[in-house]
Subunit: 196 residues, 2 copies
Amino acid sequence: MKTLKDKIRFEGRVLSSQVLKVDSFLNHQIDPRLMAEVGKEFANRFKKENITKVLTIESSGIAPGLMAALELEVPVVFARKRKSLTLVNDLLTASVHSFTKNETNEISVSNQFLMQDDRVLIIDDFLANGQAALGLVDIVKASGAEVAGIGIVIEKSFQNGGSLLREKGFRVESLARISSLEGGVQFLAEVEAALL
Amino acid sequence: MKTLKDKIRFEGRVLSSQVLKVDSFLNHQIDPRLMAEVGKEFANRFKKENITKVLTIESSGIAPGLMAALELEVPVVFARKRKSLTLVNDLLTASVHSFTKNETNEISVSNQFLMQDDRVLIIDDFLANGQAALGLVDIVKASGAEVAGIGIVIEKSFQNGGSLLREKGFRVESLARISSLEGGVQFLAEVEAALL
C-alpha cells in the first residue's frame, strides 16, 4: 500500500535495528484519512471471506480495526489487556508475552461478542513475533468461531511472527512488510512489485 | 442524537443507579456505523471552532475520537493511561482519579503532538465525574494550546462532571445526556426536545 509505505518512509523513526516508531500516524497520533484507506484496503483484500466480525486489541489496533469493520459493515471487538486478570466466567482469555517489554499480559474478550458461527478477521497494527495475533487466534478458537484471516498494518518480516502464522495456515495480509531496519526502512521487494 | 439514544435504550444495560454498560456498541464491541454518525455529529457541532486537533484517551475514546477527526480532517491523538510513569522529558502528563475503580492513573501525551497554536477538541466516550476530561484539559493547557470544546458520547448528567466543566467555561456537547438510571435509562428532557 503505497500511501502507507510513503508515510512510513517520511515519518517513521528507526530507533534501532528492531524498533520502528510510527507514533505520528498510527500509535499515538493517528492520521484518520490514512486509517480510512487502510480500512478500505483490508476490506478489499478480505471481501470474499464472508467476514462477520473484526477482532483487534487495544489500543493501537482499534483505529485500523474500526475502519476495516466500517468498510466490511460488521462490528469490531477489541480485546482488553491486563497485567493479571481475576477469573471471570464470561471472558475468553489468552496470555500474550511481549518480548519488547518482557512482560506477559492477559488479554480478554467477553464471550457475548464472539459466536460459534462468526468468521473473524483479526486486525493489528504491528506484527513482530506474532504473540498478540496468536493470543487473538486462541480467543477466537476458544469461542468456537473461525479465523477467516489476519490483517496487519506493518509487518516486520525480519521477525518470525509472519512465518509462524502463515505456517499454521492462516491467510496473513500485511499492508507494509519491512525486511530490515538496518540503515533505514527496507521494504520486502515482492510487496513493492505487487503494489506499484 | 436519536440513533445513539435508541441504541442506549435497546442495548444499554443498567447495572446499578450509577453504572450503565454499553459494551455491545461503544466500550468493547463497537458499532462502526454508529461511530461514523457520532463523528459526523461532533464535526457538525464544532465545525465553526476551527479545530486543528482531536485529543482523546485510550481505549474507549479512540473510536469516537477517530471518527470526529476524520470528519473534521484533522489528526487525533490519544492519551495513554499508566499506573505510574517514570519521568520522561517529552511527555505532557496529568493525574486522573477514577472514582469507580478507586485508583489514580497518570495520563500522558507526547509534547510533539500538541502545539501552541492548536485548537483542540477533546472527545471521550463517557462523562461522569469529569476527571478524565479535566486531565485532558490540563494536558492541553500544559502544551500552550487551547481547548476549543469537549465532545462526549454519553453524559451521566446526574454526576457532577458536566457542571464542573461548564462552570469552568468550556463548551461541552454531549450526544446523549442521561438524567437518571433509576428504573431504566432516563434522558434529559431538553436534549429530547432539541433533537426530535
